[in-house]
Symmetry: C2
């Protein structure tokens, strides 16, 4: 049964959260036969309505797929869908490619590559950047590493889901390492945007004015411009959650420990996200890290 159709590319997306759903929709829009799996029945409904194929279990989802994209929250989930009870590693056709779209550590990516090789599978670590909106319009940035033969197989997939592919090396793990560098900065920039806006409010400045001036000054960052509006609107509905940066800065700091390398600023930002999560804001938008700064009155939801 482990067989794929040589004529038509079939792709599976495992994990239909906001990022996975966007990727799946982009594939469908490109005319690629796309199968999907998620534990959430509502996500499966949405996917089916968009024209996706829903199978009864993980193995049936991937049985004819040349490319299997993992869009899961973390390494544990990836291990579980591949090698756990009812896992799909055995069902994926020999020679197919597992595309690791999740942000994990580079060392996990390398270990996963070895396990997949033992199953006759190729792997590309391809963490994505851009958020749910870019995912839904097929304009993600992807930092990908792996062997050239695997890249060849994934060509049409990348074309469907990404505006920009950065091929960062032939060796699995490099993609995750670059993503980690990005997440170090992204996390520090969100936490320091919150710290700066909080200080401005404490000092009695109008936060809208501060936002406008800093956006046009040397203190600006991509994250400052993207996240501070959530604070100004008092809108902490999760575009990306506090707990994602608890995880991603955790990956950064674990890598630092592994390499014996000091990362004091990343560590300090991580503590702020941990504080926010401990205070009960883990599932809110990551801009809610500003709520750990005490004694200020934040803008209310309009």
């Amino acid at each position: 049964m482990n067989d794929f159709n040589e004529e038509t590319l079939e792709v599976a997306v495992i994990g239909l959260g906001s990022m996975g759903m966007g990727v799946a929709r982009s594939l469908l829009r490109s005319g690629i036969t796309t199968r999907g799996f998620d534990l959430n029945p509502e996500a499966l409904d949405e996917f089916a309505k968009a024209g996706g194929d829903v199978a009864s279990d993980l193995a049936d989802t991937v049985r004819t797929c040349r490319v299997v994209i993992l869009m899961l929250v973390n390494a544990e989930q990836c291990d579980s869908v591949l090698f756990g009870e009812g896992g799909m590693a055995e069902a994926i056709p020999q020679g197919s490619v597992v595309l690791l779209g999740s942000t994990t550590s580079a060392s996990y990516a390398k270990a996963l590559d070895r396990k997949l090789q033992a199953h006759g599978l190729k792997m590309i670590d391809a963490p994505v950047s851009g958020g749910a909106v870019k995912a839904s319009v097929g304009e993600l940035s992807i930092m990908a590493s792996g062997e050239p033969a695997a890249f060849d197989i994934c060509g049409p997939v990348f074309e469907a889901i990404a505006a920009k592919i950065y091929p960062v090396g032939d060796e699995v793990g490099a993609g995750e390492t670059v993503k980690m560098i990005n997440q170090l900065l992204a996390g520090v920039h969100i936490a320091s945007a919150a710290e700066a806006m909080a200080l401005g409010m404490k000092a009695g400045l109008d936060p809208d004015m501060v936002f406008e001036i800093i956006s046009n000054s040397a203190g600006s960052s991509w994250m400052f411009q993207n996240r501070v509006p959530h604070i100004l609107q008092g809108d902490y509905s999760p575009k990306s959650m506090v707990d994602i940066f608890v995880k991603d800065l955790g990956i950064v700091l674990d890598a630092g420990k592994e390499m014996k390398f000091p990362l004091p600023i990343a560590a300090s930002a991580h503590q702020q996200f941990l504080s926010a999560s401990a205070a009960g804001y883990g599932k809110e938008d990551d801009a809610a890290v500003i709520k750990v700064y005490p004694g200020i009155e934040l803008p209310k939801k309009q």
Copy 2:
């Protein structure tokens, strides 16, 4: 003698470093009679060659000036030129405006305003952003606060030196407070850019590649794009020095202490600039903060 010409606006620039010289040149280009003062004779020469008027001492520099711009490194220097031995506070014509272009604390700006009022002088705190290049072409961003009558007097000056004026309030101190928020972010972004690039090098990634990818990703910041090229070129000739951020993040943290407000990320970045200064890099470009990350080989000067 304390008198100004009602017909023609005369302006003094005190401090002809890279920022002050740029401001002075922009004033001269606009046809404004500009006097200058600096302790460095080479700076005075350059200023005179550009068409500026050089007087024999501070008092003679300002005696006919309607606007006196302070472009000095810190509050101590401002106090010294105004109220120290041979200081100029007495010599500035009544009703003239002192424009505080330096980055100081808001509480210093407020105290200075009170002292200048006692001398019959107005004040605007007008810290600038944009760096030496923008200063020299008259395109600074200025965050200015003070009474409207003072703004009216300074109109032609702002027009000559700035691309954008942000009037942040009628009360002296607000300009410095906004600048402080900007400097918190600018300092954290430089230090975290260094930390991220250092981690990438430690992990064996090509730093040019990392720079290109992050510049186009959510981890980017104004400072990342501006300062990382110095690291890639191994060029630490000071565009802006490490010790400037030792000072500016120091101002941020002092303000936090005054307001009893925690700023853990700014504090962590400040420690990195202090480490760099302690290691002997205080007068190098602020991108030299990367030199405190041990065990990596930085790109050499080409």
